[in-house]
């Protein structure tokens, strides 16, 4: 059983927000593993599915706020891919709440902390990974 969350974090926003959370001494649950990506648009369906195969209980793709992507379409594409992976999970009978796209600004550590906590709440509902 695993309750691990893999969070693919855009290095222009979410990764910085996470760093800031550390600097400000905020706290969030320990079960999240951040993977730095150059843009949320780098994250693909294959990465998300592989994360589940490797035992993740949930996957977050965290990119810039809408309209603020450094690469103009990266976060919107990521959103589409996350939606698609939700469909793919549903097809095989998995709860599609396990994967989610969230937008976080680089200066929003509280929002980052909140989404990690919210995802943990969801894991309680949908169950840990087998």
């Amino acid at each position: 059983m695993s309750n691990k969350i893999i969070a693919f974090c855009c290095e222009h926003s979410a990764y910085l927000a996470a760093d800031l959370a550390g600097k400000q001494g905020l706290h969030y649950p320990e079960n999240v593993r951040l993977i730095r990506v150059p843009c949320a648009g780098r994250v693909d369906v294959t990465h998300i599915l592989k994360a589940f195969e490797k035992g993740a209980a949930a996957v977050l793709v965290v990119g810039c706020e809408e309209g603020a992507c450094q690469h103009s379409t990266g976060n919107t594409r990521a959103k589409e891919r996350v939606n698609y992976s939700q469909t793919l999970l549903q097809e095989i009978g998995m709860d599609n709440r396990r994967v989610e796209m969230v937008n976080v600004a680089p200066g929003a550590p509280h929002k980052f902390v909140r989404i990690i906590k919210e995802m943990n709440e969801k894991i309680k509902e949908v169950g840990e990974a087998k």
Binding site: T46, L49, F52, E53, L88, E91, I92, M94, K130
Partner: protein
């Protein structure tokens, strides 16, 4: 280019349900270009199948491979060793690819993971539209290079129906252009509107002999 899309997961799951060792074979040509059966799609489907089995508590081992063109015997034969290791093959290719695989490895069941839908072209990334109905009797010369057989909802060959909407849209689907309006405008640009007045008898679909076979003149 041949355009295909993945079959519903439920159907695929049922096809491969009895097997524990699978080979997933993608094709590097048309279906890669239409995002249905390239290396990436093979990976996605493999992941899905593994996760599905994991959830059911059953085991599965999947080999992933992609060949350049699955409709070529020589290219498919590279897979011989891999096919030997599995109980069934799931082919992510058009119907021609699936049949080539099935013909090459007769002892192993080969299942289609895709539905081959049409011959089309990309409109923008991720969107393909049907362009050719493979009728075997091309008449694009008379219609300004626009095929009403597939692009008109009713497949009309002699001008539009009475239902063309304002702005040249189709009666059946207001999102789509009326093929005959497009044809008229194209011919107008070329000064060949007289072609619109010509009558063409119903199309001879007997031109398509099943199974089709073409033999090029040998040099």
């Amino acid at each position: 280019m041949i355009v295909a899309e993945r079959k519903p997961m439920e159907e695929i799951k049922q096809m491969v349900a009895p097997y524990k060792k699978l080979l997933l074979v993608g094709c590097g040509t048309c279906v890669t270009v239409c995002w249905a059966g390239g290396e990436k799609e093979v990976g996605i489907l493999a992941s899905q199948l593994r996760l599905a089995r994991q959830a059911e508590g059953k085991e599965i081992s999947i080999i992933e491979a992609t060949v350049e063109r699955q409709c070529e015997k020589e290219m498919v034969s590279e897979l011989r060793d891999k096919v030997k290791q599995v109980e069934a093959v799931l082919s992510l290719a058009c119907g021609a690819g699936v049949q080539t695989m099935a013909g090459m490895f007769e002892e192993t069941p080969v299942f289609p993971a895709l539905n081959t839908t049409f011959v089309g072209m990309p409109e923008q990334e991720g969107i393909w539209t049907e362009m050719c109905g493979l009728c075997g009797d091309c008449f694009l010369d008379r219609t300004g290079g626009i095929c009403p057989m597939v692009r008109c909802a009713k497949g009309l060959l002699n001008g539009p129906c009475g239902g063309t909407r304002r702005g040249g849209k189709c009666e059946v689907d207001p999102e789509k252009d009326c093929a005959w309006v497009l044809i008229y405008r194209r011919l107008e640009k070329q000064g060949r509107l007289d072609l619109m007045k010509k009558y063409y008898p119903p199309k001879n679909f007997r031109a398509v002999k099943r199974p089709g076979k073409i033999q090029a003149v040998k040099a």
